[in-house]
Structures are given as C-alpha cells and as structure tokens.
C-alpha cells in the first residue's frame, strides 16, 4: 500500500503541526486520522491531499510518502514499528521518536531530535540533521538503544547524546559534544567534530576527521588500523570512570 500525503498550502504556515499519527501502522485502518495544529485538531485531509493506492494487511507493506512544506511537521513516525516513510523535502523536529522498526528516509534536511530514543529500524537523512540527532531526551539516562541512523550531510550539536546501542553514521561534520554521555553503541563521524565522547561510559566513537577541543580526560592508548585508516585510540571518559573507546584521525587540545 502506498499512501501519498501532499501538504496543502497553508495561510499560517509558521504554525507547526503535531503529526504523531503519521505512522504506517495507522493507515492499515484507513486514513481517518487527525493531527494537531496548535490547540486545534484537524482531520488528515484538511492538511494533506491524501492518495491511497493498493492495500495491505501489515505495517511492513505500507509506504507513506510526504511532500510539500513538510518542515512544519513534528513527530512523524513516532513509535513506528514497521513499513516505510519517505519525506521528499525537509522534516520538522522529533521525526522517528521511539521508533522500533521500519525505515524513514528524509530526502532533505531534518530538524532537531531526529530519531530520539529510537530502539530499532533505520533512518536515512540525505541532507543535514540539526541538534540532538539520535539523542536521548532531557535528563533521561538512555538515549538511542538500537537501530541505525545515517546522515549524509552534517549534524548539529549533541549528536547521539546518551546513546546506549545501535549505530549512528554521519558523513559530514558534527557539532559540539558528539556522543556526550555515551553508554553503548557506535558513533561514526566522517568529518570533523568538537569535544566528542564527553563523560562517555561505554561504546565506541570514531572520528575520521579532526577533533577540536579534545577533552583532556581521555587517555591515549596508541594507534589502530580501521577500515584502511590509521586512527589514534583513546580510552575514557576517565572523569566518569568510563570504559569507552574513542578513535580519532587527528586531534587538537584547547590552548
């Protein structure tokens, strides 16, 4: 089943839309869903031109395609457990929260909190992702626990904060505090980033570019070969009695 949701142009396009109902599973029972714009509940067809082709018995066979001013949509794919969501443009905050299965593809950029606390499945972002990509939530002990997030552009700060499982790969650069409070899982940044792995307990963090502001609480172990690259291995974060591994191509401490 393919569900195509094209956003209708809106007069007040600055108000975001809470669209946690846009999950493949929900379309098995038709398109009688609602979303919230501010304090107003709207039917799905008030916001989107809805087109359904074919039918399906299980969420794995459902594909949802979103187009239009999709950067206004928040919480798309929250608690998604299977199927596929393709977003042709940019997507708003909290896309793929808590997802446990299926695939979300964002052709454009993603706003903050992409794949927050996800437990499984895969998110692919062709553009950039903003802050707190694949992170935990405020104050929480564990962030992402499984699945994969791949970002082909760059990401903002606090990438994969509190990650406890799963894999996050960023092909561009990342901002400050990547992998902060990491306690498991794998984080790979192909470009540069700042202060990775702060307070990490476990897990592995790879930076194929240059680390700026390298934290002094990591102990240098030596060099390792990894996928054809020579990386410098650190253990830490010693400030947190951490047993994490940080591998970097190059690094510079703060002056």
């Amino acid at each position: 089943m393919k569900v195509t949701l094209a956003m209708k142009p809106a007069a007040k396009s600055f108000i975001s839309i809470e669209a946690e109902s846009i999950v493949p599973k929900n379309f098995l029972d038709g398109t009688d869903l609602s979303v919230w714009r501010g304090n107003r509940e709207l039917r799905l067809d008030e916001v989107f031109s809805v087109l359904v082709e074919g039918d399906a018995d299980r969420s794995e066979d459902v594909e949802v395609v979103l187009s239009g001013e999709t950067f206004r949509l928040k919480r798309v794919g929250e608690y998604m457990d299977g199927g596929r969501i393709t977003i042709l443009g940019n997507i708003g905050m909290h896309c793929g929260n808590f997802m446990s299965g299926g695939i979300i593809e964002v052709r454009g950029n993603a706003d903050g909190w992409l794949g927050r606390e996800m437990a499984g499945g895969a998110i692919v972002c062709r553009g950039d992702a903003a802050d707190y990509c694949a992170a935990g939530y405020r104050g929480g002990r564990k962030g992402m626990t499984g699945g994969t997030v791949e970002v082909f552009g760059s990401t903002g700060d606090f990438l994969a904060e509190s990650i406890a499982g799963g894999t996050v790969t960023v092909h561009g650069n990342s901002g400050d505090m990547a992998g902060a409070e990491m306690r498991g899982g794998t984080l790979v940044v192909h470009g540069d980033c700042r202060r990775p792995g702060a307070n990490m307990k476990e897990g592995s963090c790879y930076v194929y570019g240059t680390v700026q502001g390298m934290l002094p609480t990591f102990r240098k172990i030596g060099t390792v070969q990894h996928g054809g690259r020579t990386l410098i291995r650190f253990a830490g974060d010693l400030a947190n009695r951490g047993k994490g591994n940080l591998f970097v191509k190059d690094y510079e401490y703060l002056d």
Binding site: Y137, R138, G139, G140, R141, N240, R241
Partner: protein, 566 residues
C-alpha cells in the same frame, strides 16, 4: 451554613478508641458536630471503611529542595501527566510531581494533612508559596536547625534558654511548625568538606558534638512547649553498621513530655543497618524495635523503600555526596548560609540488588517488630524511599504475610540470610493501619487538639471513606483489594466538602498552614538582642528585617501560640 451527614459509616477512630463501629458522622461548616438538621446533604457510606483524613508526618512535597529535584529531573515529568480538566490543573511527574500532582494524588488516597519534613529557614518563602498550590491538604513545615550558627554557639556556651529563644524567633519568622535536625552537626561539617561519623564527633570550629546539639535542642523544644517534638534525622544515614549510632542517639532522649513523645526519629529504615561494609550489610531492625518498645518517649517512622525509580533529597548534604559516589549519576548540592544545606540524587531501587532488597525488608520489619503502632508510623520519607503513591502497597504488605512472601520470592536470593523478615508472622489489622496512617501521626505531631486525626465533635471534618467493607475482605488473602481500596477513596472529605470521589478530584480547594508562635519573655526576644542582630547583619546575605515571611504568604493562616518557659 453547609451541612453534611455521612450515614452508615464503619468507623475506626483510634484517638477516640472506636474500632469498626457503624455510625453516622455529622458535619457543620467544616467541623464535626453531634447532629445536623434534616436539610443536610446525605452521603450513604454503605458500611464502608471510614477513617479520619490521612496525615503524613514526614514527606517532602514543597520547597527549594523539592523544586530542585524537579529542575534536575526533567525526565521525571514525562510520567504522570494529566491534562487540565474542570477545576483541576494539569499535572506531571512521578517522584517529584508538580504541587498539584502531589495534592491530587494524596487526596485520592484520602490524605488531608501533610508535614513538609525539612524547610531551610532562609528559603521558607518558597515552601509557603508552594503550600498555597497544594490546595487539598492542610500543611505545616519542619524547620531545619541542624547547623544553625547562633544555636551552636549557644550550645557551646551551655545556654539552652538562648537556644530556645533563637528557635522561637526563627519559627515565628519563617512560619514554621516544628524543629527538624538533619544529621545534626554533619551538614555544618560538610560546609568544611567533612562529616561527623557519629554523635561524639565535634563539629569543626563550633566544637560542639551532635549529642550536645540533640540534647540541648530537645530541652529547648520542651521549654518552648511546642506541639510537636524534635524531629530527628540521625547522623550517619545509609551507612552499614549505623544502627549503633542510631541507638546511641535515641538513648540520649529523656522522657520530658506526658502528652506525646520527646523525639520523633525520622525514616529509621535508613538508620537500622548492620555490617561493616556493603559486603556484609544486614538488617538491624530487631535491636532498634526492641529499644523503641522500651521507650515511650520515642516515635519513629518507617521510611520504607519500595522498588522502582525515585529521587532522594535531604538536607544531609554529605550523605548525598556519598550516594553520588556510589551511583555516579547526577547530583545536586546546596549550601544554605548559616543554617543548613542539602543534596539531591535520583535513584532506582532494584529487586535484583541485594542492598536494596535488604532495605526494603528493614522498613517492613520495623513496622512489624515494633509492638505499638503508635510508635512506628507509615511513611516512605516521600520521595526518598519511594513516592507516596506506594503507601497502599505498603499497607498491603503489612497486612498480609502471603503478599510479603510472594514479594520476597522476587527479590535478591541472598536477602534471606541477612534479614529476619521471613520469620515474622505478624499481620497488622485495620485498627493498627489507622493508627499508623492518621491517628498516630496526628498524635505525634501534637495536632489532635487542633482537630486533626480523629472524628470527635469539633474536629476538622476531614474524612476518608474507602470502598471496602471490613467484613467482606480478608486482608491477609485479598491484599489486592486492600491495595486498590487504599489507592482510591470512595469519598475524600476535606473541611466538610467532598474533594475527591472514586479517584477523581472535584474541587480546587484551599489549604491552611499551621505554624507556631512561642510566647517568650522580653529578655529572650531575639529580635531585640544586640548580639543576635549584629551577627545576623554581618553574616547573612539578607537583612534581618527582610528575613521573616510575611503572613500574606500563608493562605489560611492557623497560628498556634504556645506559652514558653523562658
């Protein structure tokens, strides 16, 4: 004039010696009366268990410390969310909920009076402001005097009357209800980066010992004729082998008051540990319970630990630092100038953890081994041992050996060798539970004469009617029914008004705050004492005239005047 008649109520009212008598309760303008006119609104209780409104004599629900628990645990606010509805405000949070969350949840469980266990005098305004937004319970606050510089100097000089005078001035200024000592001396030592190991260790600079602080303040408490006794959180909380220190502290206390205890020992579960380190950690509830059995001058509360997530918060700063070193999670530490300090740490008590399992057992043992329920009150030191919403489960555990055994089978297997709990057959009855949750608490707080904790004529019309008939439920078998009933009243009546019905709060309410104003002679008025004023102006960051909490901060103001003997 509003009249209400509760018919066919099966009443347990321990302060009046009433045990399961079916009777009518007449209410006129928020007070219990002998009879009302035929025009009164009638509630038919249909023989359901009816108790005086619940009293919690030790809980942390309002104030800077609680609020900082909220700040530092935004994840806690993801639980317990309820939307705004009718007169009710939105709530959120589990172990440190919003004030409305606390108030509604307590009300649904039938609680109508709460005592905030620790209010730093300097930050009293915050507590009183939050009291206003705890609308469905009457409130009062213990004031922290554990590291007060003026008091420690007076103790060093051996001047108990001056100790009493400073307490009188402060209670009046901050609109406090009673004296709280949290790790006496230890929190002041913490300001020097130290702690006291037990009651004979001197506090740095002041050179007084916790034993001197406790004894002197207990005497001062009686000089002032305060309704409540000193409320003590002993030194050395949470360390293996601390029970001997607890016994030493309790042994300091003479019997000075005929009407009530002379010392309220708070959350004794945390102070009843044997062993020399975490490896041979074990329960010492038996010696403590036996010691308390022999001393009517002491009342304690359980401080029961229940498994799950919660937040620990106390004025015992050094103890929280030790906890931080164990858990390595987030930690907050706070210093309150010349008075006290505090620390906060979120924790998870786990069944799989041997130490946590033993702690769980110790609280229950204290309640079951102490002969008189008037001497061991039911609390969790909310939220330190568990959030107060766990009270019904604790009642279930105390009333049912079967439930205890079923729970015991799920905890760490080595617990059995470290605790006496499996051998205890005692099951508490309804009357004892009523004592431990209201009558005993009101008596310990000294508020029964103010119309709390009983249903006698002229008492405040605070009534909890639970959806349960005692003749139909055998608590030792049907413990789940007991838990369900105590979780959700059929009616909670506060000041003569139905405030909660079947788990739903109905009104916005308006709380009253009790506070104490001891009348002292001119010579002992610290507001005119040059030395006190000079020290105040030199060391505090606030001016003395800005320090007292104005009465505008109190919603309904119930001032208790006492005749001090100084």
């Amino acid at each position: 004039m509003t009249e209400l008649l509760v018919k066919n109520a099966c009443v347990i009212d321990p302060l009046r010696g009433i045990n399961a008598e079916t009777m009518d309760i007449a209410i006129l303008d928020g007070k219990i009366v002998e009879e009302v006119s035929d025009a009164a609104e009638v509630i038919d209780a249909r023989g359901m268990l009816t108790l005086p409104g619940g009293v919690d004599s030790h809980t942390h629900i309002c104030g800077t410390k609680v609020n900082f628990g909220r700040y530092m645990s935004p994840e806690d606010m993801r639980a317990g969310r309820t939307p705004r509805r009718g007169p009710l405000h939105a709530t959120s949070g589990y172990s440190v909920p919003t004030t409305y969350g606390n108030s509604y949840r307590y009300s649904v469980m039938g609680y109508t009076t709460l005592l905030e266990g620790a209010m730093a005098p300097l930050e009293a305004r915050h507590t009183h402001e939050e009291f206003i937004y705890t609308p469905l319970q009457d409130t009062m606050a213990n004031v922290l005097f554990d590291g007060n510089w003026g008091i420690m100097e007076a103790i060093r000089d051996g001047d108990t009357k001056r100790v009493a005078a400073i307490i009188a001035w402060t209670l009046r200024a901050v609109k406090g209800f009673a004296i709280k000592l949290t790790n006496p001396g230890g929190t002041e030592a913490w300001q020097w980066g130290k702690n006291v190991s037990c009651i004979r260790d001197p506090v740095p600079y002041f050179e007084v010992t916790p034993a001197e602080i406790i004894r002197s303040i207990v005497e001062a408490n009686e000089l002032l004729g305060l309704p409540h006794s000193v409320h003590l959180h002993c030194n050395n909380l949470g360390t293996p082998g601390n029970y001997s220190c607890t016994l030493g502290s309790l042994g300091l206390i003479p019997d000075l008051n005929e009407k009530r205890q002379t010392l309220y020992a708070a959350h004794v579960q945390f102070h009843a540990y044997g062993g020399s380190d975490w490896k041979d950690f074990c329960s010492k509830s038996e010696p403590i319970a036996r010691f308390v059995d022999m001393r009517p001058q002491i009342v304690m509360d359980m401080g029961q630990v229940m498994f799950g997530r919660t937040t620990t918060m106390t004025a015992d700063g050094p103890m929280e630092f030790n906890l931080y070193r164990l858990h390595h999670e987030k930690w907050s530490n706070h210093d309150v100038e010349l008075e006290t300090g505090s620390g906060i740490i979120p924790v998870i008590y786990r069944r799989k953890n041997l130490v946590n399992s033993i702690m769980w057992a110790i609280g229950l043992e204290l309640a079951l081994l102490t002969k008189s329920p008037w001497q061991c009150l039911l609390t969790t030191d909310n939220p330190n041992g568990a959030p107060f919403v766990k009270y019904p489960e604790i009642i279930g555990l105390l009333m049912s050996k079967k439930y205890r055994d079923a729970e015991f089978a799920t905890i760490h297997p080595d617990t059995e060798a470290r605790v006496p709990l499996p051998a205890i057959e005692r099951e508490l009855d309804w009357y004892e539970i009523a004592v431990m949750t209201r009558a005993g608490q009101a008596k310990a707080l000294g508020i029964q004469d103010l119309g709390k904790g009983h249903l006698g004529p002229d008492a405040d019309a605070d009534v909890a009617i639970y959806p349960l008939r005692m003749d139909e439920v055998d608590p030792s078998v049907d413990y789940q029914k007991v838990i369900d009933a105590f979780s959700r009243t059929e009616y909670t009546i506060k000041r003569g008004r139905v405030v909660a019905r079947r788990g739903e709060c109905l009104v916005d309410g308006s709380n009253a705050t009790f506070w104490v104003r001891p009348k002292v002679s001119e010579n002992y008025d610290m507001g005119k004492d040059p030395d006190f004023i000079e020290k105040f102006d030199r060391y505090y960051t606030v001016r003395m005239r800005n320090y007292p909490v104005q009465e505008e901060y109190l919603n309904r103001n119930r001032c208790i005047e006492t005749e001090a003997r100084i």
